[in-house]
Symmetry: C2
Amino acid sequence: MTELARPSSVRKHQAILEAAEQVFLRDGYLGANMDELATLSQVSKQTVYKHFGSKEALFIELVSTMTTLAGNELHDEVPDPAAADELPTFLEKYAERQLNAVLTPRILQLRRLVIGEAARFPELGQVLWDRGPRRAMTSMAARFSRLATNGWLRVDEPATAASFFNWLVMSGPLNQAMLLGDQAAPDPAGLRDHCAEVARVFLAAYGCNNSTTSESH
Amino acid sequence: MTELARPSSVRKHQAILEAAEQVFLRDGYLGANMDELATLSQVSKQTVYKHFGSKEALFIELVSTMTTLAGNELHDEVPDPAAADELPTFLEKYAERQLNAVLTPRILQLRRLVIGEAARFPELGQVLWDRGPRRAMTSMAARFSRLATNGWLRVDEPATAASFFNWLVMSGPLNQAMLLGDQAAPDPAGLRDHCAEVARVFLAAYGCNNSTTSESH
């Protein structure tokens, strides 16, 4: 059994990541102080470097972990709708889940940091892209492909439809929050209205016949 | 005539803004060195502060100026389409203009900086939002309102339709570029395909009858 595999080592790894979240999100990459981070983790700075190699590698691991966990809440175990007339509600609820996973102060601040550092550390943006939007769009493209096979959607290029769905959902609220601050994101009622309109717009473009209206089926 | 109104003063003001663009975009807000900025502008640091008051105020003015100029290229003098069947082409071309105005290395890097600093300097994000997306969406909402009055669009809430149009156009390419770097934005052929699909999706949701198909009218 290697040292890194010992339970106490797992706990240290987790403690360092939790301290990293606190320090990086508050002070940014350049401002983050590794001595403070070690103190908060209750380990030596040497142990921090033994676990993560470098400040940059620790930041990349933090971005990866936080983005993956936020995505897990979204992607785990959401079954396809059981009938075509469930599509509007399915898409609305899916959109609400997506927004609720991302519009949290922690994830918004992480995203601001990563974008701010993207020119200096391209790998950060790549990790957030892969674990965040790309993962969501890949999962949705596979789903849209199945729903098209069922004849419930008209989708020639599932990846394109998934990209439009993703950004219809995310980008109004997300860009508002990015530029204007967390409190600029819509309130719960505003988010529900937004998600209902997203589902309507999407199904107008990619739905079959009248699946956006209550008269369908 | 006050000193600031003299032609040489106007030239200094412009020279400082040009140097600010160079230094802030390269080094970020915290990293920007005001001595270097003054040297590049060929003025004293005192003159920089006389013109702009503070490093922060200079950065805000830079964001405002760059965003406004990029928007001017877009908003000046674009007439409404002359007939309903010109709508798809009109929207495609408008979308291409929007993307070309924003997907430049300068504007992308400015946006990254502003987002990275948004938590520290809320005013920066507000300025970029007001001069950028909000201006574009306000202009588009007024246009969609006119087109709805003509009976060429079905738009209950012009602001919502304008927001969806704006983000359908911008957010795939823009978020890709934000996270993955300038070179991740689609090439010209990819952008044209994207804009054609944006126009199709938008008109499926907000168009009248078959205005998205070539059989219309």
